[in-house]
Amino acid sequence: MAEPIVTYKNVTKSFDEVDVLKGINLDIAPAEKIALIGPSGSGKTTIIRLLMTLEEPTSGVIEVNGQNLWQMEKKGELVRANEKHLRQIRGDIGMVFQHFNLFPHMTILENCMTGPINVKGESKEEAKKNSIEMLEKVGLGDKLENYPNQLSGGQKQRVAMARALVMRPKVMLFDEVTSALDPELVGEVLEVIREIAKEGEMAMVLVTHEMDFARDVADRIIFLENGVIAEQGTPEEVLENTESERLQQFLSRFRS
């Protein structure tokens, strides 16, 4: 693989007494699309939360663009990164959440504009132009002045994606973004993700239960179990031709 954009080296994570991740080694190539699947409790969400700096690794190294995310050098020694260091690197990562987490006190246009204006220092006009463009892309160009509580779940999630995309991250993380939606709203969200994937520039990591979708969109599927990567490969390899019994058992739950 050409220089990977994200690297996990022996990353572990424990909460209290529970070891959630037990040694993850992973390279993500630029513009690669990865689907993370596995039983609940396997640690899939934790992996991406570590990258988004929402959790801190217990041990191991995560690198973004070759830079150590959670550690920095101070007087020749390696210490835990401070806020300034984290912010420097975090700008290349974006995330869409299971429960949307839109800002309820802002219109959806303001939700999209707040990142570019306050974090990237864009001018109000430029941020507005880009936000409108992105909201139109996800099909919500006619709802710019609406508040989140006036939208359906599917619409909220599309706004959340526009908000994250307008920051132009190099890696986009999706944390079970359709799990909280009513079944009839799932399709519209998946459609948008498909479009984003087609454009090709961003790496994407999707934690998902939607196997058919994963097969369509992903370059690589990773099966996580008990805190380690149990299987990985192309969608054909993992979903159709696997020899692992555990994986077969897991996948059988999703077959009708």
Binding site: L54, R90, I93, G94, L102, P104, H105, T114, M167
Partner: protein, 223 residues
Amino acid sequence: MIPISQIGEIFSILLQGLNITITILVTSAFFSFLVAFLAGFGRLSKNIFIRKFSGFFVEVFRGTSLIIQLFWFFYALPILFGIDLGSEFWACVIAISMNYGAYMSETVRGSILSVAHGQTEAAIALNMSRFQRMRIVILPQAVRMMLPEFGNYLIQMLKATSLISLVGLADIVYKGQLYTNTNLSSTPTVYLLILVFYFIIALPLIGLTKWAEKQSSKGVASE
């Protein structure tokens, strides 16, 4: 029982006390909000000394009654700072501000904490700095939550101003008592009218609080 004309006379006497009551109320309200935010943020601080110190302050002023704090400051201020000019006024303001500031700091702290976790995470995902997170995402939602409780505390502060008569400030209660000293038979009427007077002042505050309650349910994410 009591002729209407006398009621009018009593009211105009009570009115003379209105000035100092409102002045103390407004001044105390201002300082108590200041204290509330200082102590509230102090309790959320990462610095353990600030946290412990604010915590101590809040517990002391919540754990003792306003009337004791009032008397204490009234006698302590001249001794500690040699302030004699207007010491009654400032003793009252300081006591009320500290007391209610301590209670309201819990409101501040509680509201900030109860803005949903997901909001902070979304702000982190957008790479906002800690200060930006507070200013753009958390505070706007937290303040809306604080308003109804602040409204309630404001009404309580209004009731608390009746205590200033005990240290000799010429407020509504004091003026009323002066009148009853020379018109003993009017005592029950006077006290009832004092209550009515306070109630009239309280009415807009009650309305404001109810309005704030309606506002606080819109536009806030709490899980």
